[in-house]
Amino acid sequence: MQSALQKGGSRSESRLLSVILILALCLTLAPVLRLFIEGVTDQGVPSLSLAKSVLAQGSTLNALKHSLITAGLGTLVSVVLGAAFAFLVALTDLRAKAALVFCLMIPMMIPPQITALSWTQIMGPSSVLLKTLGIAPPLGAPQPLYSPEGIILLLGIQHMSIIFLTLRAGLRAIPQEVVEAARISGARGFRTWWQVVMPLTLPSLAAGTAITFVTALGNFGIPAMLGIPAGYVTLPTLVYQKLAGMGTTVLAEVSVLAMLIGAVAIVGILLQRFFQGRQNVYLVGSTSRPLAIPLGSARLPVEILLWAVVFVILVLPMFGLLATSLVPAYGVPLRFDTMTFVSWGEVLFRQPVTARAFANSFSLALGAAVVLMIICLPLAWLMERHPTRLSRLFDSLLDLPYALPGVVLSIAMILLLIKLPFTDATLYGTIWIIFLAYLARFFAVMFRPVQASLKQLDPAMAEAAQSVGAGLFQRLRDVILPLSAPAAAAGAILVFLTAFNELTVSALLWSSGTETLGVVIFNLDDSGETAMASALAMTIVFVVMALMTLIQLFSRRFPKGVVPWQT
């Protein structure tokens, strides 16, 4: 308190900071803390006996093994794909880089269950696309994606954008002079890359790899859609199956599983922080001109190859999805005379569940975006102006609910809200538990862009208003809000986008009446309504692309660091 006063000289600011900070702490970190307490106690007494027995079960060890294999090898696929694209886009004179970057971001923004659904539509015996082309495998042939290899491939594609983004950011921080100095000393093409560029980018590559592993580990949509039919269970799907099968009676048991995933994830997060910290060492020198090593005659072939990869991993699955959504019944080949929008009409206008899910997802996403904006804007500004010990601690921990696998947060939320303190009321089974979970999970998605823009804001802007007599709320309303509005808008759109697509959290928290879109697609596919699932998935893909295009169109008005794919 005293130090905050020394800095800004405004009591009302430090008071407001304390209030919002406590609110934010309760929102984001209380669930995680609650889960930790559950894991190390047994009926209120500190005990590790339950943890020991759950960890000794064969199913747990099996799922852990599967999780580590799929997440580890999936990360490898991401690293190969993402790094190849990052090096070529960041270092060479390829054309149409902006379009390429935008396309590479789409896999990250499309929800994983839709990725899984779309890929199953271009492979296997009942693929509408393959049937239409007449190259489908015979009936009865297995779906090749229902396998560990399928999960690994799709996890790799889903998360390649993360590697691409972190590595590209690291590469762009390398001053051009460093590469030029190597070339003037006589180093040629591959040698420059191996001996100069590679060592400088290793920390960002390592950081990206660690966070990709954590994300792949927490992924629920892909192992659920591909692994459950094959009987291949990972930790998140094990938690889901236990909770869906036996309800809250196994809450203590799944808490231990959630802590196990959380523990592996935290190791990954710590590794990422470690490498991220080492990266800054190289941030010296001018980086005004981006690197553009001429590829010469190889440029056109390389461009064709890159776009071909984009076509295969992005466009082709979407065609498969579109084709499936347009047939009257699953398995019928698509021709002009069989093409129909029946599934679209059914899923968008007739099914009460999907209409409800649209309403639920829309209001949850919008509500989360609005509430988080209201909290984050003053909080980010006050934390910037009055860095206290508590606010610095919060700053370092607020990414946790987003970085931790969604399963972990969901279990934590159930534990926290199944019985509200001092009452018999419960939020479990209501839409509010999903809403609070979204607030916790997407806090960082909103906070970081706003923080980035406020860090670049001249503190004199607010001081000027203060010197002419504007009080705290007048300063917030008339100066801080308008100046950080673009960043807040970008953050709000990102929150909306991710919340609208969300599956992992709601898969564990939904009940009849509170379905979200992610849950409905998952359930439709599960019950064999693949055409309807595809039509709904296509709709969501269009919404995602429209929102991403919106951000892209306004990207020039956003301060640096606000749009995640524009580093």
Binding site: L5, Q6, K7, G8, G9, S10, R11, S12, D458, A460, M461, E463, A464, A465, Q466, S467, V468, G469, A470, G471, Q474, D478, V479, P482, L483
Partner: protein, 346 residues
């Protein structure tokens, strides 16, 4: 309009003292410059006056009101002061007119009053034709005038300026100095102006507080600072010159003589017999073959119409002299010292 009284003011940043025990008084309507090298505490003092930072010790009194004491601190928004920032701090999302009228909106004036006072402030700073532009469409000098209009519009008790010309080019700086001087004459506001540029301070201020290491070294009119510096720091920081130790002092009947660089010369001083150093400015040195000491030219700089000679005396001291005639590097010449200012430094 108000005077400013500062008593035993101190400020510590993370254990490092930035201001030490400052006690001084700025008169009502005075134009004060705070001058010093970077890190001397001048901006800290200004921000304490504005209320952006809280003093570690001491009190500040503006007019009849204590704005900062050991127990109470009036926040900046209630102090009725104007502040002009180095970065101008214009709100980029508001037009020029709205930037200027915002202080009046805060004070809840009626619409016609706001319009009238805003127009007056815009006219006084020559901005009437730019009223509807956005700050990003203005040049540096115009932006500075908007900042000035914004702080003039609410008739503040005092106007604080934090290196307002540091971001402007040399030509614009001269014309903006005139704008500030006119503004001060017309409004009669108490102005406190922070700068590291002594020419700027000399040109505009009624009194200059020269600061170093968190202390006011000397607080006087520009003429006094230049001609009668109190210590070595002020003598070397303000104007060109060399500080030379005094060997011995002779107190005559109405003239003080000192032994400097092996010569006996007449000096002026307040301190009488305790003087320890003299300040030799170019005006105190005349070139003559029968001079008090011999020196060799080490460097010649053309200043336009005259030359600045950097010479090394026979005992190794560097002395600066000005001449209309050109000398070559390495030339030997004689220098006569005429009544320099002497002071005592411990």
């Amino acid at each position: 309009m108000a005077d400013i009284n500062i008593t035993s003011l101190g400020k510590v940043f993370a254990g490092t003292p930035a201001l030490q025990d400052i006690t001084t008084r700025f008169e009502d309507g005075e134009f004060i410059a705070l001058l010093g090298p970077s890190g001397c505490g001048k901006t800290t003092l200004l921000r304490l006056l504005a209320g952006f930072d809280m003093p570690s010790s001491g009190t500040i009194r503006i007019g009849a009101r204590d704005v900062a004491t050991a127990t109470n601190m009036v926040p900046p928004e209630e102090r009725n002061i104007g502040f002009v920032f180095q970065s101008y701090a214009l709100w980029p999302h508001m037009s020029v007119r709205r930037n200027v009228s915002y202080p009046l909106e805060i004070r809840k004036l009626t619409k016609p009053e706001i319009a009238a006072q805003t127009d007056a402030a815009l006219a006084a700073t020559g901005l009437t034709e730019y009223a509807d532009r956005m700050p990003s469409d203005l040049s540096g000098g115009q932006r500075q005038r908007v900042a000035l209009a914004r702080c003039l519009v609410s008739a503040p008790d005092a106007v604080l300026l934090d290196e307002p010309l540091a971001n402007l080019d040399v030509a614009l700086r001269a014309s903006m100095q005139a704008v500030f001087t006119d503004f001060h004459k017309r409004t009669g506001a108490t102005m406190v102006y922070v700068t590291h540029d002594q020419a700027e301070a000399m040109a505009m201020a009624d009194r200059i507080a020269v600061m170093n290491q968190g202390l006011i070294q000397q607080f006087d009119t520009p003429q006094t600072l230049y001609e009668r510096p109190k210590n070595r720091f002020v003598a070397e920081f303000v104007g060109r010159g060399t500080v030379v130790p005094v060997k011995a002092v002779e107190q005559g009947e109405n003239q003080l003589h000192a032994h400097v660089l092996g010569a006996r010369i007449a000096v002026e001083s307040e301190a009488q017999s305790q003087v320890s150093h003299v300040c030799l400015r170019p005006e105190n040195l005349a070139i003559s073959e029968t001079g008090d000491l011999r020196a060799k030219v080490a460097r010649v700089t053309y200043l336009g119409g005259k030359y600045l000679l950097e010479t090394v005396s026979s005992c190794g001291t560097r002395l600066l002299a000005e001449t209309r005639a050109k000398f070559d590097v390495g030339a030997q010449l004689g220098l006569t010292i005429t009544t320099p200012w002497a002071f005592s430094e411990d």
